[in-house]
């Protein structure tokens, strides 16, 4: 395990920067130099950071700094964490600054250089550094909010020093109490690759079904009863449509798997982005909250057919009502039997979405990580979604899952995977599906 006593977090006043600083200062018990554009911003971030882990005591370990003291901070640190804006120009410039701050440091005591990027190439970022430092540059991808979401994806670049990566992984899991998953340097890494495939597919389904209601219709189909706390399109609105676009465009352009087309952003989302309707942070996006003059709030959704907002519908899907009634009493088997046998359009969309999610997770986690258990870890602890092999458990096991796939999915999906192998090799997930499947619509 790496011995990390001092950490420099660059870009420490952003949401992720300050909350990750708190993780290093609390569980890691490290002194954290919080570097941002001004001491005032860094100082303000410390208070928010300590509240994020509900421990004012850690504030004493966080030191406000600005870029003027970067050289001094880096020279005293065992780990440098970059948490700047998700933009190549910004990040590469910051890494060049870190590289020059490293200038005089001897190799004998190598420090870990980590980027919190959610999708930029770690190999490219490592390439910014002189050769001697490249092997110590890693991706260290936390999820928001990190105190509640324990996932940490560790990404190896082409130059990665495997021994150091191993020690960094031990540090993240044992000291920082992260659920640590090693992932190859591949677009969007593992969690976002799987998660945003599902979310973008939901956006595309909304377009296909725009005359049935579109966005809120699809979100109602993938409600909490389907194994997630937040509906998929609400999630896109929450993270911001610009961020969503950056992720899916990156995967669409730079990967070549069987589901590549499902990363194509629907035109109506492009339109919203061009209009500045970027989601919750912009006040409007796929959803918005309208406040009347008397203060009354109405939740509205973008109507794809009419290109305007309308109040959200409270859809009444009999299958969802029945499932929630069964889940309320703890009858999971009966609830999923109902999903599997119900022939309504909505139940079919829901089940097919879950089956595709599992298949995509299997395929991708095999290629860029350590198989389905890593996909389970990222989806459970990074997204708070029922993880893929727990979905198989909920559906009734490997055999049942395979037969449902054969019954419901088309050839492009069936040919992507060996269903017999899944049916035979499936073992119950480490993550209990029951806690993820809520009795709520």
């Amino acid at each position: 395990m790496l011995q990390i006593d001092t950490v420099t977090v660059v870009g420490a006043n952003g949401t992720m920067g300050r909350n990750i600083s708190a993780i290093f200062a609390s569980f890691g018990a490290a002194t954290v130099y919080m570097v941002s554009r001004s001491i005032e911003k860094s100082t303000a971030a410390i208070e928010v950071a300590s509240k994020s882990v509900r421990a004012g005591s850690i504030a004493r370990r966080m030191v406000p700094k600005d870029y003027g003291s970067l050289v001094e901070c880096v020279s005293e640190s065992d780990l440098v964490f970059e948490a700047c804006a998700e933009n190549w120009e910004v990040k590469s410039a910051v890494h060049r600054q870190i590289a020059s701050a490293l200038g005089g440091l001897a190799d004998a005591n190598p420090i870990a250089i980590c980027s919190g990027t959610s999708g930029l190439s770690i190999t490219d970022l490592a390439g910014v550094y002189p050769e001697q430092y490249r092997s110590h540059v890693f991706g260290m991808h936390f999820f928001n909010p990190p105190y509640q979401m324990s996932l940490c994806e560790l990404i190896r670049s082409r130059y990665a020093d495997e021994a150091m990566l191993c020690k960094l992984s031990a540090y993240a899991s044992k000291k920082l109490l992260r659920t640590t998953v090693l992932v190859d340097d591949s677009p969007a890494f593992l969690g976002n690759r799987i998660g945003f495939q599902f979310i973008n597919d939901a956006l595309r389904l909304a377009e296909d079904h725009r005359d049935s209601g579109g966005i809120d219709y699809i979100d109602a189909i993938f409600g909490p009863f389907s194994g997630r706390a937040m509906a998929p399109i609400v999630t896109a609105d929450f993270v911001g449509l610009d961020v969503h676009k950056a992720i899916v465009d990156n995967v669409r352009s730079n990967t070549f798997d069987f589901a590549n087309q499902s990363f194509e952003l629907p035109d109506y989302v492009e339109g919203l982005i061009e209009n500045g309707q970027l989601g919750r942070k912009a006040g409007s996006g796929l959803y918005r909250t309208k406040v009347a003059s008397d203060g009354r709030k109405t939740r509205e959704v973008w109507d794809i057919s009419h290109c305007s907002y309308r109040p959200i519908n409270r859809y009444v899907f009999p299958f969802a009502i029945e499932m929630c009634d069964l889940l309320h009493e703890g009858d999971y088997r009966e609830a999923f039997d109902l999903l599997e046998t119900n022939r309504s359009v909505e139940a079919k969309i829901c089940l097919e979405g879950l089956l595709k999610y599992v298949i995509y997770s299997y395929v991708i986690s095999d290629v860029i990580s350590n198989g389905i258990s890593s996909a389970d870890d990222v989806m459970a602890t990074g997204f708070n979604w029922c993880p893929p092999s727990a979905v198989i458990d909920a559906l009734g096991g490997g055999e049942r899952f395979a037969s449902l796939c054969r019954e419901r999915l088309d050839a492009s999906w069936l040919s992507a995977i060996d269903l017999n192998c899944i049916a035979e090799s499936h073992v119950p997930s480490f993550h209990d599906y029951r806690r993820f499947v809520k009795a709520r619509r």
């Binding site: 609390s26 004012g56 005591s57 109490l177 929630c324 309320h328 703890g330 806690r435």
Partner: protein
């Protein structure tokens, strides 16, 4: 202990991190999950229960404090028939002694097996507490004290009363107040630390350190009542725990060996009102003499002393109650409890680990479940099945484990010894 031998076949607890109200799930859902998981652990099926019931060999014992307030439901023994039809016709009743409800259910179950009335006893402890706001929750729990006399006008009666226990402890033994409260902070930290190893503990992902726990009255560790900080308090928790107890005949039929065995129990009731407890114990070396007596009774029935105990689960509803338990168990003399806190004896790797599960502070405290959860945890320690929080010394798992479960302000005191 007189009578037939009583063995622990297995059991389960729910994940105490879960909020069943947020999941939209009922008390029946909670019970189904807990009983299903316990059946798996004990290697028993609902079919087995039906068959045993045909010959009148099985009964259920339900511990719950106050479901009438939290979920608007009473008659909780009978409620098990909603879990599975296998419970139709099975004798079942609910037992209540505030936070010691789980233990009084265990006591009844153990007695029935000792007397050879049944071969299998299913003990279920549960509470859903997150159905109400934290303020209302605190008020409901006030009914474990003498509500009419001790609770009027007090928002959080129990933190206040256990804060008084802290002050009384300082005064009785002439302790340095600051040092005593630092010792309480250390107790909190040990419990939080232990919970990190328990995959079903409520606080397993939470951060706590000595600096945080020892600075009370801050924004993140505010005072609850007048004396104790949030870090000194156990959690508001949803959860259930289930234990299967079996007779000698039953384990022979199942061809099982080396199961944990119930070796002794103690049960004493102290004056209901906290102030009367303090008046009564004024001349006694022990601040809670009936707690001490319950432990001595259990040691006596088991034929052991504190030197034979390898691990303890105690009722740390507040750090001040764990502090008193240290001398009550005989780990130190009364007044010298701080020694065991400071020298690391009660830590996970110490010579007398207390609450390897995380206890009520770390693992959580669904009040009606806690007695059963503690009993399950000491049984796991004896069976060697506690996983990452298994206590091992010199390559060996514990031979004897003890638990103390209290109701009210240490009014009902229950102790069990499980061993091999």
């Amino acid at each position: 202990m007189l009578g037939n031998a009583v063995y622990v076949l297995g059991g389960a607890q729910t994940d105490f991190e879960r909020n069943w109200t947020k999941e939209g799930k009922s008390e029946v859902a909670l019970l189904k999950e807990a009983v299903d998981d316990a059946l798996l652990s004990a290697g028993i099926t609902y079919g087995d229960i039906s068959r045993l019931n045909e010959d009148g060999r099985v009964a259920c014992f339900v511990g719950n404090f106050i479901g009438e307030r939290y979920v608007d439901q009473g008659h909780l023994g009978a409620l098990l028939t909603e879990v599975h039809p296998a419970f139709y016709g099975v004798p079942s009743a609910r037992y209540e002694a505030a936070c010691a409800s789980g233990s009084v259910a265990l006591d009844a179950a153990i007695s029935k097996i000792r007397l050879d009335d049944y071969d299998l006893a299913i003990v279920v402890g549960w509470e859903l507490m997150k159905t109400v706001s934290s303020k209302e929750c605190g008020d409901i729990l006030g009914r474990a004290a003498f509500y009419r006399k001790e609770c009027p006008g007090v928002d959080f009666p129990f933190p206040t009363l256990f804060g008084q226990l802290a002050i009384e402890t300082v005064n009785k033994y002439g302790l340095d107040r600051d040092a005593y409260f630092d010792d309480l902070a250390m107790i909190s930290v040990i419990n939080y630390e232990n919970a990190k190893r328990n995959p079903l503990a409520q606080t397993r992902k939470w951060f706590m350190d000595y600096e945080e726990a020892s600075h009370r009255g801050t924004e993140t560790n505010p005072l609850v009542g007048e004396t104790l900080g949030v870090a000194d308090c156990s959690q508001v928790t949803d959860g259930a725990a289930v234990v299967f107890l079996a007779s000698e005949r039953m384990i022979q039929e199942l061809r099982l060996k080396n199961l944990p065995r119930v070796k002794g129990f103690g049960h004493r009731t102290a004056p209901m009102i906290f102030a009367n407890k303090m008046i009564e114990s004024r001349q006694n070396n022990y601040i809670l003499p009936w707690t001490r007596q319950a432990i001595l009774d259990a040691y006596g029935r088991a034929g052991i002393g504190v030197e034979d105990v390898n691990v303890i689960e105690t009722h740390d509803c507040f750090t001040s109650s764990e502090y008193v338990a240290i001398s009550s168990f005989g780990i130190t003399d009364p007044g010298n409890e701080f020694e065991a806190v400071r020298d690391g004896r009660i830590a996970f790797d110490g010579s007398m680990p207390i609450n390897p599960s995380g206890g009520l502070i770390g693992c959580g405290h669904p009040v009606g479940a806690s007695g059963v959860r503690m009993f399950l945890d000491i049984s796991k320690q004896i069976a060697g099945t506690a996983g990452d929080y298994q206590v091992v010394r010199n390559g060996e798992i514990p031979e004897n484990a003890a638990m103390l479960n209290i109701g009210g302000t240490a009014t009902t005191n229950y102790v069990f010894i499980v061993g091999r």
